[in-house]
C-alpha cells in the first residue's frame, strides 16, 4: 500500500456530475465542419501576431535607411523610387519576409519533432540536420567551389544527414530515442567535416563560412523568399492535417493504435514534413539554431495545453527570428553578428532554464 493518502475510497460512488463544464467551443460550418477552438491559443496567436507586425514595422523603419512608419502603408502598395524603394524592395523587404518565413518553418518543424519524439529536446538540430547542412555548405562553398550553388549544398548535406540517421536507427523513424542518438553521431561527423574544411582554407574564406554556419539572412533576395514561401505552402497544410493523429500518438504507440491511428505512417509523414520545413529554412538561411527548439515550447506554455499548437509555434518562430534580426541590424553590440548567434544565445539560456525546471519537477 502506498503511503500517499487516497482522496476517496475506491468504491466511492460517483461524485455529483460537473458535466459539460469544460466542453470545448466549436467552430462550425454547416454539418460537415466542426473544429474545436482553444480560446487561449487564439488570444495568444493574436498577441504574437501584433508583436510580429510591430517588429516588422520597426525592421522597415529604423535606422538611416528606414522608411517612416506613417509612409509605410502607401509605400507597400506603390514602392517609391530612390533610396526608400531600394530599402523596401531590395535591402530589407526580402530579408524581413525571409525572417518571417524561416522562423515559421522552423516553428512548425520543431513542433512536429517534439510531439513525434515525445521529447522537449527534439528538434531538427538534434537529429543532425543543421550540422549536415553546414558540412554541405563547407564542401560546396569552399572545398569545391563552383560545382553546386551553396543553398543546394546545404540542402544536400541536410538530406544526407537525415538519410544516414534514418538508415542507422534500423527502424526508420519509428524509434524516437534512437533517432536522437543517431543524430548525435551524424552531427559529430558533419562537424568534423566542417572543421576540417575550415582549417585547410584561407582565413578570410573560412571566416565567411563561419558566419554562414551560424545562420544568416544578411543578403537574401526574392529568390529566397520564393523558396521559403513554397516550403510553407507545402508544409503548413500537411502539418495541420497530421496534427489530430499526432496528438493521439502522444498517448503512447499502443494506445494510439487502439484509437485507430496508423502510428508508423503518421510518424514518418510528420518527420518528412518537419524535415522539408527545416530543409527549406536551412537552404535560404543556413543552420539557425534553437528557434525550432524554443518556439513550440513557448507555445505550449502559453496555451497550457498538451495539444500541438502549430499556428502559434509558427508565429512565435517568426517573431523570434524577426526580433533577433532586428537586433542584428540595429543594436550596436550585436551589429555584424549573424542572426543565428543571437537566436542561439537566447535559446541556450532558455534551454537551460527549461531543463533545470524539468528535472526539478522530477520528470526527466
Amino acid at each position: 500500500m502506498s503511503a500517499a493518502p487516497h482522496l476517496e475510497s475506491p468504491v466511492a460512488a460517483a461524485a455529483p456530475a460537473l458535466a459539460g463544464r469544460r466542453a470545448p467551443r466549436l467552430f462550425r460550418i454547416g454539418p460537415g465542419i466542426a473544429l474545436p477552438v482553444h480560446p487561449r491559443a487564439l488570444i495568444w496567436s493574436g498577441i504574437v501576431l501584433v508583436g510580429l507586425i510591430v517588429a516588422a514595422v520597426l525592421t522597415l523603419s529604423m535606422g538611416k535607411l528606414g522608411i517612416a512608419p506613417q509612409s509605410l502603408p502607401a509605400a507597400l502598395f506603390d514602392p517609391p523610387r530612390g533610396a526608400a524603394g531600394f530599402t523596401l524592395t531590395t535591402l530589407r523587404g526580402p530579408r524581413l519576409l525571409v525572417a518571417i518565413g524561416v522562423g515559421a518553418a522552423l516553428g512548425i518543424s520543431g513542433a512536429l519533432f517534439q510531439i513525434v519524439t515525445r521529447n522537449p529536446l527534439g528538434s531538427p538540430d538534434v537529429i543532425g540536420l543543421g550540422a549536415g547542412a553546414g558540412a554541405g555548405v563547407a564542401i560546396c562553398g569552399l572545398l569545391w567551389p563552383g560545382v553546386l550553388p551553396t543553398p543546394a549544398g546545404a540542402l544536400l548535406g541536410a538530406m544526407l544527414a537525415i538519410t544516414i540517421v534514418y538508415l542507422s536507427t534500423g527502424r526508420g523513424f519509428a524509434a524516437p530515442a534512437r533517432i536522437i542518438i543517431a543524430g548525435i553521431g551524424v552531427s559529430a561527423m558533419a562537424h568534423a567535416v566542417t572543421q576540417y574544411v575550415v582549417s585547410v582554407k584561407l582565413r578570410d574564406e573560412a571566416s565567411q563560412l563561419a558566419g554562414y554556419l551560424a545562420g544568416s539572412i544578411n543578403s537574401v533576395g526574392w529568390g529566397a523568399v520564393g523558396i521559403i514561401a513554397i516550403t510553407l505552402a507545402l508544409c503548413l497544410p500537411a502539418a495541420w492535417a497530421l496534427s489530430p493523429s499526432l496528438n493521439q500518438i502522444a498517448l503512447g504507440d499502443s494506445l494510439a493504435h487502439s484509437l485507430g491511428i496508423r502510428v508508423t505512417a503518421t510518424r514518418t509523414a510528420a518527420i518528412i514534413v518537419a524535415v522539408v520545413a527545416a530543409a527549406g529554412a536551412v537552404t535560404v538561411a543556413g543552420p539557425i539554431s534553437f528557434v525550432a527548439l524554443t518556439a513550440p515550447q513557448i507555445a505550449q506554455r502559453l496555451t497550457r495545453s498538451p495539444a500541438l499548437s502549430l499556428g502559434l509555434s509558427a508565429l512565435l518562430g517568426a517573431l523570434i527570428l524577426v526580433v533577433a534580426d532586428l537586433l542584428a541590424q540595429q543594436a550596436p553590440w550585436a551589429r555584424g553578428l549573424p542572426v543565428g548567434i543571437l537566436t542561439a544565445g537566447v535559446g541556450g539560456i532558455y534551454l537551460g532554464a527549461l531543463l533545470i525546471r524539468e528535472w526539478r519537477k522530477g520528470r526527466l
Binding site: P10, V11, A14, A34, D253, S254, S258, L259, G260
Partner: protein, 263 residues
C-alpha cells in the same frame, strides 16, 4: 476462409519479434459478452496474444477476425470503433487534464474537418461517471494517484464506446483495493454487454472475477473454459511449476489456489 461465427477470433496466428517466434499456429475464440482472463507464467506470450487480438502487433501469419471479417482488411478507425486496447504503459502527456485525456478516446469518431462528434460530451461524461472520476475531471493527470490514474485510462477506453475491450495487465502497480475495484469495473463492463479480455497475473483474481479463462504456456494455449473446469492441481503444477491444492473460495464458490506447504 471458412465462414466464422460472430465474435473475436484468432486463426492460426504466428507472431514473433525479430528472429524469435512467440506464438505459432495459435487459434482461439473469445466468448462474446463474457469477461475472459488470459493467464500464464511470465514470458508465455499472454501480452503478445492480447496485442495481436487488438492489432497492435501485426501477425506474421494467420488472421484475427471480428464477426467473421479479417481485421487486416478494415481501416484502423473502423476497428477502433469496435475494439479498444488499453496497453500496459500508456503515456499521459504533460499538463493534460483528466477530462481531456478521456476525450481523446473519442478520436475514432472524428475526421479532419469534424474534430468533435455529436455524443462526445455524453460519452465522456458517462465514462467519467462509470469509473467514478467525475470529481477529478479538471485535475491534471500527473497529480493523480496510481489507482485514480488507472481509472482515468479505463474511462478513456469506455469513452471509445466499443463492444470489445482488451486490457493488458490492468492491475499491475495498483494496491490490492484498487486491483479489486478494477476487476469490478471489468465485470460491470461485461454486464453492460461488452466483451472484456484482460491479461491477469493473479490466478486467484482471474478465477474469481473472470467468466472464462485462457491458460497459456510457452506460446500455446493449454486450457480454456470456465475457472471451475480449467483450474486443477495438475494444471497449476505443470504450467506454473507450483505444487498447489485447489479449494473453494468461501465468498464466491470459485476455485481458490493454495500453494502447498514445503515438506
Amino acid at each position: 476462409m471458412t465462414p466464422t461465427p460472430p465474435g473475436l477470433r484468432a486463426h492460426q496466428l504466428r507472431v514473433g519479434y525479430g528472429s524469435r517466434t512467440v506464438l505459432s499456429d495459435l487459434s482461439v475464440t473469445l466468448p462474446t459478452g463474457a469477461f475472459t482472463a488470459i493467464i500464464g507464467p511470465n514470458g508465455c506470450g499472454k501480452s503478445t496474444l492480447l496485442k495481436s487480438l487488438g492489432r497492435a502487433i501485426v501477425p506474421r501469419a494467420g488472421a484475427v477476425t471480428l464477426d467473421g471479417t479479417d481485421l487486416a482488411s478494415l481501416r484502423p478507425k473502423v476497428i477502433a470503433r469496435r475494439l479498444a486496447l488499453l496497453p500496459q504503459d500508456p503515456i499521459a502527456p504533460d499538463t493534460i487534464r483528466v477530462r481531456d485525456l478521456v476525450a481523446r478516446g473519442r478520436h475514432p469518431y472524428h475526421s479532419l474537418l469534424r474534430q468533435w462528434a455529436p455524443g462526445d460530451t455524453e460519452a465522456v461524461d458517462r465514462a467519467l461517471a462509470e469509473t467514478g472520476v467525475t470529481h477529478l475531471a479538471d485535475r491534471f493527470v500527473s497529480e493523480l494517484s496510481g489507482g485514480q490514474r488507472q481509472r482515468a485510462w479505463v474511462a478513456l477506453v469506455l469513452a471509445q464506446d466499443t463492444d470489445y475491450v482488451l486490457l493488458d495487465e490492468p492491475t499491475s502497480f495498483l494496491d490490492i483495493s484498487h486491483q479489486i475495484d478494477l476487476l469490478h469495473r471489468c465485470q460491470d463492463m461485461r454486464s453492460a454487454g461488452k466483451t472484456v479480455v484482460a491479461v491477469l497475473h493473479d490466478l486467484n483474481q482471474a478465477a474469481r472475477y473472470a467468466d472464462h479463462l485462457v491458460v497459456m504456456h510457452e506460446g500455446a494455449i493449454v486450457a480454456e473454459g470456465t475457472p471451475a473446469d480449467v483450474l486443477s492441481a495438475d494444471l497449476v503444477r505443470e504450467v506454473f511449476a507450483l505444487p498447489a491444492e485447489i479449494t473453494i473460495d468461501p465468498q464466491s464458490g470459485s476455485p481458490l489456489i493454495v500453494p502447498l506447504a514445503r515438506v
